[in-house]
Symmetry: C2
């Protein structure tokens, strides 16, 4: 029952910064978020960092009348932090958990415990199938020495793969979330160019919000503004992106961000700014026939895409070297612990060292040393297993990238007239 | 460039039982598998339990002329064990790793270390987009006391979700692998009825192989035949399934299995029997227009599906109770360890117990007890984290199932004429 009248849809996205015990004014802020969602009556609200299920349940209870449908994506030790509130029935929900997401021993960063991923819901709006994605990528703690960069690149890759593989049946695709990457960062470019998703900020003619569309700004009372000095006081790391199909033209009518402290309140909704996008869906009257290879449709700019995938592969290889080095270190340390343990046991077995209480090798030190060796062995074994899994994930992503490159390069070659013909075909097959 | 002439495709699937150091005659068997793949020239060979990358690389090197395209799905500590060899270019590969896959401390079962999942490749065969899936689910070690059943049900759910969400752009869907479930087991029924994939064994008119299509038989020299006595000497746990689309009719022309020892060899290819299916793809001359909601197309039998999903939800809830119980036990034991440690430190701090060498609480025992308490604390913390993650995965699957049930029941209600009309609509919308 597809209608041909244009349909409006308003989408909201916010990183809620909701960590139990750790984030400031959490309860008050969730009250404010509830009021905002209640009054604004968005079609869909995409929330990130709702780490505490009680906060989700609070919103769900209070907003049941306005948003009768909601989903909380559970994953990892704490959760994925992803939640969706919708005025339209959610027909289906699915979560893809990223294979890499930081290190468990970096407890103070905590990303590993969050089980980050990309959540997908399927909505039916006026007869259109709308696929909505929400995600949150690994945080960037230091731009200069960003040891998590390969993890974030692999996450971008898995995100784009998940979206590319699951949207063939969609009339409209919308994605929102905190990518923790600037617009020109490798991961963002890779993701955008491969999926063909368009950035609301660059696409809309009507923008109202922070300068440059920034969503992490020094004016925000929860932000350490010193961190943002190198970036001119703000960065854009939260996004809403979209894509239409042969059945539906989609345009972003407007985009807005909050601007730090909320008028009438002493603070902001979160340490990030919220995004609101308004879309117009115009169903094509003349329904095109489905193109022969929907999944294989050409991305906008093939040679650029090849370069970007190559760049990503290089970054993943850097991560591979690093993970291999760490695994070697864990193995070497473990072997040292084992040798020490064996040596100690040998000493104990040789009667000359007879571990009497008045001997030069007293019992207490003996047991302490033994316990230490054992602890080293245990920790390094766990680390060895962890780094091996990290290696496998990095290798897996690199293999997929190599395969994709082969396929893309084949297409470049297949085009005997060179680039110009690739581009014309792109226009023809573009969804 | 879709051709209208029928296309034949031969698909092979085998659980290769390739565990380094542990499985018998591994090298010899991989030589035999190489010969088989070389001579048979299948279109696609789907291999499971290729746990050792060297075996994959061996096959890749030796079979490069016949199968120029291959992919090895890397995941977990050891790998996913999944490998694909193809005569057609692999345009794309993607892996979904199951969120639950046994317990790391069940080292002798080893499933957890394997990082099991479902691998997908995209092939273009004579202009048709063929999506091929290969998977391997958690093993069943005891049918009576199967503590892994909730894990396998969640894996079935994630498998069906992954397939349902990613096949909208496919002309043909093929899945092969070791499901470790009998044909009427909950997970198999759930998976089959929700995806609409058809089982080659029940669909083909031409079957040649073990009785009942069994793939794990007592005649196999590597099988412990006592285990199979309750099942009449064999079980069917390996499958090849398929599905066409509006663009292409697919039929299974024949299915065959190996039958234990290979003629001319002293043993079998593996402890499982291999499957070979031959398909006929007949592109529809009159291309139908794409149905309005491809993803939402009705499964074959809606009321049955509702019952099966309910049954799966119950099983997941059993798993939830079990995981909660285990987490409580871990927490209680951890608290006991902590109390003991604090008590010990208190004793050490009180001068009356003064830990001299001639005191009733000698230093050696003190340190040993301390180390024990510390070890208990560490292990229970790790277990607590693990069980929390298990709980989140089970809850996540249950939430998705509840959502799906709501959507399915809505559809049942929407049909005022009751079941008969649901069924007629099913036929109409069936892909």
């Amino acid at each position: 029952m597809t209608t041909c009248a244009p349909i409006r849809m308003r989408v909201f996205s916010l990183n809620c910064w909701g960590i139990r015990f750790l984030t400031k004014q959490r309860k008050e802020r969730f009250l404010m978020i509830r009021d905002l969602l209640f009054h604004q009556q968005f079609d869909v609200a995409l929330l990130q960092e709702v780490w505490c299920e009680a906060d989700f349940l609070f919103l769900k209870e209070k907003l049941g009348n306005v948003y009768p449908h909601s989903h909380y994506f559970k994953s990892g030790f704490i959760g994925s932090g992803l939640a969706v509130f919708s005025r339209h029935r959610i027909h289906d929900a699915f979560l893809y958990r990223y294979s890499l997401n930081g290190y468990p021993y970096m407890v103070h960063h905590g990303d590993w415990f969050g089980g980050k991923g990309v959540g997908k819901i399927v909505l039916g709006i006026s007869g259109l199938t709308v696929h909505v994605f929400v995600t949150h990528l690994h945080a960037e703690y230091s731009r200069e020495r960003d040891s998590y960069l390969p993890h974030r690149v692999v996450q971008s890759w898995e995100l784009l793969q998940f979206i590319r593989h699951t949207i063939a049946g969609a009339d409209v695709v919308i994605m929102g979330g905190d990518l923790n990457m600037h617009p020109d960062d490798l991961g963002t470019r890779l993701f955008r160019s491969y999926t063909g998703l368009k950035d609301c900020f660059t696409e809309t003619d009507s923008f109202d919000g922070c300068e440059g569309g920034n969503t992490h700004i020094s004016e925000n009372p929860f932000t350490n503004s010193d961190e943002l000095v190198p970036f001119g006081g703000g960065v854009r790391i939260d996004y809403i992106l979209f894509k239409g199909s042969e059945q539906v033209d989609v345009s972003c009518e407007s985009l807005s961000t909050t601007k730090g402290p909320v008028p009438g309140h002493p603070f902001s909704y979160s340490d990030h700014e919220a995004l609101t996008a308004e879309f117009l869906f115009t169903p094509n009257k003349k329904k095109h026939e489905r193109s022969e290879r929907q999944v294989d449709s050409f991305p906008d700019n093939l040679p650029d895409l090849v370069n970007t995938v190559n760049e990503a592969r290089t970054e993943v290889k850097v991560g591979l070297h690093c993970a291999e080095h760490m695994r070697h270190t864990a193995a070497r340390t473990g072997i040292m612990g084992l040798v020490l343990l064996v040596l100690e046991l040998a000493i104990a077995a040789i009667p000359i060292f007879n571990l009497g209480d008045d001997q030069p090798f007293p019992k207490a030190s003996f047991y302490l040393l033994g316990a230490l060796c054992f602890a080293i062995l245990l920790f390094t074994s766990l680390l060895y297993i962890f780094y091996s899994m990290e290696l496998k994930s990095l290798q897996g992503a690199e293999d997929q990238m190599r395969l994709a490159l082969g396929s893309l390069q084949e297409r470049l070659k297949e085009s005997p007239k060179g680039l110009s013909s690739v581009r014309s075909e792109t226009v023809q097959l573009k969804t």
